[in-house]
């Protein structure tokens, strides 16, 4: 767990209430928008909110609690994402917040938002197809559409791609290689 302790904390009155520029506490909706600006460091096309790793944002008294669920157990971006969220909150003037890592329920690609999926496609990454059933985990994957030309004539080149969450594919029509965001 990371806490929002800031080196300047000792210089700030302890009763200071987190506030935006006009001195009001940010609403939950504003906070979701704020974190929607934090991009996934490995797939900068989408935000951590669109990726579905930010699970909840809530005020408990004067402390903001943000709950994050990591994607893969060994994802090297997990800590970086937490730092980026922390820094976004600090830049918005928040001082009293707590970031909490929650493992269960485990992250699933089903949590990637529709807007996130569309942005992945535009970025050249085929979004996960269907939902993360056991069948898809065991390799009964649906047809993966090429994010470049939309062809369904594609083939898997490698089970794993540039990161743990992706597999490498190739389009047999436009011949372009592309990453596919695996269903988990």
């Amino acid at each position: 767990m990371l806490s929002g302790k800031h080196p300047m904390d000792s210089l700030i009155a302890s009763d200071r209430i987190p506030a935006n520029a006009s001195g009001e506490r940010l609403s939950i909706e504003q906070l979701w928008q704020l974190l929607d600006e934090v991009k996934d460091p490995e797939v900068p096309a989408i935000s951590v909110v669109e990726l579905g790793v930010v699970r909840s944002i809530e005020w408990q008294d004067d402390t903001l609690h943000v709950c994050v669920t990591p994607t893969y157990s060994g994802c090297p971006a997990t800590e970086l994402i937490e730092q980026m969220i922390q820094s976004a909150l600090e830049q918005a003037g928040l001082r009293q917040f707590q970031l909490e890592t929650r493992l269960a329920p485990a992250w699933t690609t089903d949590w990637i938002t529709p807007a996130g999926r569309e942005k992945l496609r535009e970025f050249g990454i085929a979004p996960p197809q269907g939902s993360a059933s056991k069948l898809s985990l065991m390799g009964h994957s649906e047809i993966i559409e090429c994010p470049h030309c939309g062809s369904q004539q594609t083939e898997q080149v490698s089970e794993f791609g540039s990161t743990a969450c992706k597999a490498l594919y190739r389009c047999r029509d436009c011949l372009e290689p592309f990453d596919y965001f695996k269903c988990i």
């Binding site: 893969y72 157990s73 060994g74 994802c75 090297p76 493992l103 269960a104 329920p105 485990a106 992250w107 699933t108 993360a132 056991k134 985990l137 065991m138 390799g139 080149v157 490698s158 089970e159 794993f160 791609g161 540039s162 990161t163 743990a164 490498l168 695996k182 988990i184």
Partner: protein, 253 residues
């Protein structure tokens, strides 16, 4: 042995096996036979090290000595490691690497399947995350068993050698000891009998399909990893893995 002590051991076994195999796979960085394989092996290793961290963190909290996951991974000696002997065996050729992976994945998958329903909530959570990753690992290693077993005369021969060489380390995966039994009894750990029969079935099915010679179930087996008695290979692996944190204790970056 108290239940708490057994739980501590049980967690270290899970963590150490993940960690040591993760380290073995990382040794292939820059040395894998093909780019796709390198990507896959590094991702597998990353998953395993991530899972190890989740288990270590829990073990460290239970231990209550103020140690953290890094301490458990990098400051203990071989005799304190509780990993399966199978995972510390050297990478060898690619048949050896994949046969080791398959025997482990099949065990790992069955074990995690059971741990998802553990009465210990934290264990169920970590397992729930890991099972998704390990399902991929298993699928891949099954494919490789079949590909090499059914491949060329040479690939078949090499896989036969690998299976024969590693078989003596598989007994430990499915033979329960006091810790396993206590944890199963408490509803925390996997039922060893269920893991054993599912593992055997899967190994038999895959090896049959891969046209590989089935090994003797009653063959003499090397055991001891779960109690800290290791083959000579572990010390060398740890020397490399632990060098930096031991040479520069508490270094940060």
């Amino acid at each position: 042995m108290t239940q708490q002590e057994a739980l501590q051991q049980y967690l270290l076994r899970l963590a150490d096996s993940d960690m040591v195999l993760g380290q073995r796979l990382c040794e292939l960085c820059g040395h894998a036979p093909a780019l796709e394989e390198e990507l896959a092996l590094m991702n597998l290793g990353l998953d395993l090290i991530g899972q190890a961290r989740n288990w270590y963190e829990y073990a460290a909290e239970l231990e209550g000595k103020g140690n953290d996951a890094d301490y458990l991974a990098f400051r203990r000696d071989a005799g304190e490691f509780r990993n399966l002997l199978l995972v510390e065996q050297p990478n060898g050729d690619y048949a050896m690497t994949m046969a080791r992976q398959f025997f482990f994945d099949a065990w790992h998958y069955q074990t995690l399947q059971a741990l998802v329903n553990s009465s210990d909530e934290r264990i169920a959570q970590v397992a729930g995350k890991a099972i998704k990753e390990v399902t991929y690992h298993l699928r891949r290693s099954i494919e490789w068993m079949k590909r090499l077993g059914n491949g060329t005369e040479e690939s078949h021969q090499r896989m036969e050698v690998a299976v024969e060489e590693l078989w003596r380390f598989t007994g430990e995966l499915i033979e329960a000891d006091e810790v396993d039994l206590m944890m199963a009894e408490a509803g925390i750990g996997a039922d060893p009998e269920a893991v054993k029969s599912a593992w055997k079935q899967m190994v038999t099915d895959v090896m049959t399909e891969a046209t590989l010679t089935l090994q003797d179930e009653n063959a003499w087996m090397h055991v001891g990893g779960k109690r800290g008695i290791h083959t000579e290979h572990l010390g060398f692996l740890l020397a490399e893995m632990q060098f930096l944190p031991r040479a520069y204790p508490d270094a940060v970056w």
